[in-house]
């Protein structure tokens, strides 16, 4: 199967129903996307598929075939941070950090659709992403900061 992952053509010899999450992690070596629950409850596995935030534990490889996939590694790098990542660093959101790849991918997709989200919209959209360490207040603040950064850019 062929995918475009972070702008590169990648191939994987996997069964149709292997979730994209495990194709990324175990076949393509992209470990930034995390396994948390496997049943669409936590959002740790969130990636963008053709620009839309998707729980990669729920998307069969066969359905993702041919699509354009962005993972946390493709959103920005330590040298060239995406505005959302910049905001996450500034606000020092992460504690254990395990949920944060998913949080960042979800927030980036939100800001794509709604460049100036209200607290209420942030709450609704981000509530699918669990954080066991309780970083929610900082996530909220960081989303607002990222929104400003994107608008100024």
């Amino acid at each position: 199967m062929e995918f475009t992952v972070n702008g590169e053509k990648r191939e994987a010899d996997v069964e149709y129903d292997m979730p994209l999450l495990w194709v990324l992690r175990d076949e393509l070596g992209l470990k930034g996307t995390k396994y948390g629950c496997g049943v669409a409850q936590c959002g740790a596995c969130t990636v963008h598929v053709d620009g839309v935030a998707v729980r990669s534990c729920q998307l069969a490889a066969g359905e993702a075939e041919g699509s354009d996939i962005t993972t946390i590694e493709g959103l920005g790098t330590p040298e060239t941070l995406h505005a959302v990542q910049e905001a996450w660093v500034e606000h020092q959101v992460a504690q254990c950090g395990y949920c944060q790849s998913g949080q960042i991918m979800q927030a980036a997709a939100l800001l794509d659709q709604d460049p100036e989200p209200s607290d209420e919209v942030i709450d609704i959209v981000m509530s699918g992403n669990l954080c066991r360490c309780g970083t929610y207040p900082r996530i909220r603040a960081a989303v607002h900061t990222a929104a400003k950064k994107l608008q100024e850019a």
Binding site: M18, T33, V39, E73, W88, V93, R132, G134
Partner: protein, 744 residues
Amino acid sequence: MGRLRTIGRRSFLIGSAAVMGGVAFGTYMVQAPHDNPLAKDLAEGSATFNPWVLISPEKITLIAPHADKGQGVSSAQAALIAEELDVEFGQFEVSFGKPDPAYWNHAMSEEGLPFKSTDDRWAVERARATMGGALKVMGMQGTGGSTAMADSFHKLREAGAAARETLKLAASNRTGVPVSELKTANAAVQLPDGTEIKYTELAGEAAQIEPVRFVKLRDPSEWRLIGKPMQRLDILGKSTGTLDYGIDVEIEGMVHATICVNPRQGGVMKGYKENGAREMRGVIDIVEITNGVAVVADNTWRAFQAINAIECDWGDAPYPHEQADHWTAIEDSFVEAQLDDEWRNDGDVDAASGEEITAEYRSPYVAHAPMEPLNAIVQVTDARVDIWTGHQMPIILEQQIAALTEHDVENVHFHNQWIGGSFGHRLELDYIKQAAEIANQMRGTPVKMTYTREEDFAHDFPRHIAMGRASGKVADGKVVSMSLDIAAPSVLGSQMSRVGITVPGADAQIPAGSWNNPYALANFRMRSYRAPELAPVSSWRAVGAPGAGFFFDSFLDELIHAAGADPMEERLRLINHKPSRKVLEEVAALSNWGSEMGENQGRGVAFIESFGAPVAEVIEVTQSDAGIKIDKAFVVADVGTVVDPINFENLVMGGAIFGMGHAMNCEITYSDGMAEQSNYHAHEAMRMYQCPEIVIKGLENGHKIRGMGEPTVPPAAPALGNAIFAATGQRIREMPFHKHIDFV
């Protein structure tokens, strides 16, 4: 009853510690430093001054031995060394180091002792020191009990200072300039004429001289780093998906495995049917392990698929199969024969006169469920064992695995990794043993074992269940007496039995967060009863205090309301420990306590001291037709010294959210011997839309530094319950609250 027996048990605990620490090993052992593990394979031209600082011609490495499970302790430990060493962030690397007795945790002993943390009498401090000595001799390296900062605060600054002075001595030897005229900054020694010699350039010479041992620490007024906001060292990696957790580590030639063990914990596997699992794509092998079976495959998901196909025949659990019977066992434990200790008996609760109130409280089993499902990589060869995972008790880990694979412990090598949350689960060893059992059956091949989230829930050792029976009296608008009996299985007993250690004496965690609260009630009695072992349980963030503290503070609130007093004023009237009083006063000011509230609104306050830190929380809620909404929370905590205000705020908020979320909607219940909750949908805790604005403040009046990983958890549940009562008139005496009221 009681008194004599009580005293006997307490002195036994201290006595046994004294034997271990003072007599059997001699005081010399306690005072002598452990060997420096960094000296063992020191490269040519490199210098090490103590177990925490290593300088080579290329770089400076600081060792941060406390496991980092998200609490930011890696950065905080480095900052303490850097403060005295005069190196800046960016000028050094941080390593978790290797397990070694030199990294014994001297603060970990405190919570095992039957003294209030607010008690600083000489004899008590002496007992703490003795227990610490025992742990040192045993080389108890560990992270837990919110002790990392208490353990590190002096030790690591001293390590930095000693290294700095040794480097100055080396520079003095080279240049002939007396040490007193040398300064240090930015990882270099500065000569009076302004020239600088980098520490890395001095490494070779410094290695030749005996390290300076005793150096006076700088006055807090001179601190550059401590107390100022820091940029955590892991923040970039954690914001870009580039930091590898244990689950992300790859070892050459590695295979992927997962397991299924009897969800009736401790029960045997009577047999299993493979059901074609072996023929499934990617499956390499299916092997038996203790009480279960493992699949080894070429991809994690393929291993998950195969394990789901296998059908196992499970034996019975060694505990009651139904939850109701667990509760019955607790109810039946309020008897003289099961009295564990009497922690407080001031005045005479029976003789006090006034209107009597009684109540019964319950606290459920709760899962740890950190976001990173448990996992471990183990490679066993005939010569050695290597383990890559995150764990909080590295030395015990190496010993246990050595016993399992029958290697000498020197040949077992643990490589600690970044941890995606623990909340106590990574004090347990089962997941590593299971990985080792698989790897031992395929020697040579590194095996990465990953739990499915369902296995993580099924095989958790949850927080223990507990019940509180309370009575008290009120008269003339005041609380005049309070008595609280708490029954629970011993969490320390259960946990330590799995590593073959028997803990003597009463379990201080059963009543933690209740008897130790510094209230001067004239008539005040606290007793703990030890229930039989039920489901295996383990330390959960703040251990005993989330349950016992909930009973204590909620019931105190009941009494205050019955007396017709103000919840804040009456607590302030009763509290008799200065830093604790300050905490309450501050939270009253911060929350504007007493100001008008809207219709259907209510606010509640709770105060609990745990792990030595007094914490007060005020929560405001609104009741609507749809349920309770948490509007705002205020948290004030005294930690003695705030090392990093940003990390402090993170931990305080995280703890309060953890406490509220689990009080709202989390419990583990057993049916047919198995946990009924299998994933986050059934054990959700707090999500973003429920998370209130949280205002926090840190105080520094306490005379010792305290960790903040746990102490803000316990007051959250009673503050929330007390707020719900204020808003609705409904008193909730059982967690999770959603069994009695809806949340929006």
